[in-house]
């Protein structure tokens, strides 16, 4: 049986804090890289770079950011798994995260690399930004409810 009280992060307060900091920094990297592509999709010129060029350049960075953010997120989750899992706001966050990841690696990736109308590009960029901002909001609101 898993005993959360012996979890490293529960025993060492500094480790809990460091994990949270790494979580924030890595999600910043991931969302920032994705937002750069989104700005281009919205029609903002980033020098001569096409959205396909930006999507390629940011792919590794956003993947690393996501992997680290999700890993540290589950490390924090593991300190009190039952409370986290049973909480509606956390369930909403996890569901939105799943949708955002699927969207990012399907529709978003295709539209960034393909030849689509400005309307579609803007719609996809808006949905992408909205999804990631919603995840940040639900992370904060979780801790207040």
């Amino acid at each position: 049986m898993y005993d959360a009280s012996s979890n490293f992060l529960n025993v060492h307060e500094w480790a809990y804090g460091v994990t949270e900091i790494v979580h924030i920094l890595s999600l910043t990297a991931a969302i920032g890289f994705i937002a750069l592509v989104d700005l281009r999709l919205l029609g903002i010129a980033v020098g001569p770079a096409s959205s396909a060029r930006l999507a390629r350049a940011t792919a590794v960075g956003s993947l690393i950011g996501l992997v680290v953010a999700i890993t540290t997120g589950f490390m924090v989750f593991s300190t009190d798994p039952v409370r986290y899992f049973d909480h509606p706001t956390m369930r909403f966050k996890l569901a939105t995260l799943l949708v955002a990841i699927i969207f990012n690696y399907s529709v978003h990736a295709r539209v960034a690399r393909g030849d689509f109308s400005l309307l579609i590009r803007r719609g996809v960029a808006s949905i992408s930004l909205l999804l990631w901002v919603t995840i940040v909001f639900s992370g904060i609101f979780y801790s207040f409810s």
């Binding site: 949270e20 900091i21 969302i31 937002a35 750069l36 700005l39 903002i44 980033v46 960075g61």
Partner: protein, 171 residues
């Protein structure tokens, strides 16, 4: 002294309302964090470009110019939310060493911007100066420090009044 100053700040009606609202405070904190994630991420993008680690085929000036209005707008929202959040708990924050470190780092970010303004951030066309890498590295380190200290504010163990008394009367 900082504590009484903080108390008179946080007693302002609007800041009291923020502190006591179950909805406004987390909303402001979410806005603060969402700005860090999106616009802070763009700062990271700029820094990586200045370091020559990323998008090296795009001229530095083009990238800086394209992202500037977004970063400035994001910074304005982030700072507004941050000032309201910090102000609503000013007495607690102004006596928290990690918050003071965060403020110092933020001022350093501003100083770095002024110092490298001519040579990096608003330089005329031409070869990229060596200072660009230094500016990128400094900005990256300072901002990581700002975010880290922001989170660490919550981890400050305030000496309890009892301990203070026992120190005062210890001799």
């Amino acid at each position: 002294m900082l504590e009484s100053l903080g108390r008179s700040i946080q007693d302002l009606r609007v800041l009291t309302a923020i502190r006591e609202s179950a909805l406004v405070y987390p909303t402001l904190l979410s806005i603060h964090l969402a700005c860090i994630a999106t616009f802070g991420g763009l700062i990271l993008v700029t820094n990586l470009r200045l370091l020559d680690w990323f998008l090296t085929d795009i001229p530095t000036n083009d990238l800086i110019r394209a992202l500037r209005p977004w970063k400035q707008g994001g910074l304005a929202i982030m700072l507004t939310a941050g000032v309201l959040l910090g102000g609503s708990k000013a007495a607690e924050y102004l006596t928290n060493p990690y918050f003071l470190i965060k403020l110092t780092l933020l001022v350093s970010v501003g100083v770095h911007g002024v110092l490298f303004r001519r040579s990096v951030y608003r330089r005329p066309e031409g070869p990229v100066p060596k200072a660009a890498r230094l500016a990128g590295a400094l900005s990256l380190i300072l901002w990581i420090g700002v975010v880290s200290m922001g989170r660490w504010i919550a981890y400050y163990d305030r000496p309890s009044p009892a301990e203070q008394v026992s120190v005062d009367t210890g001799k």
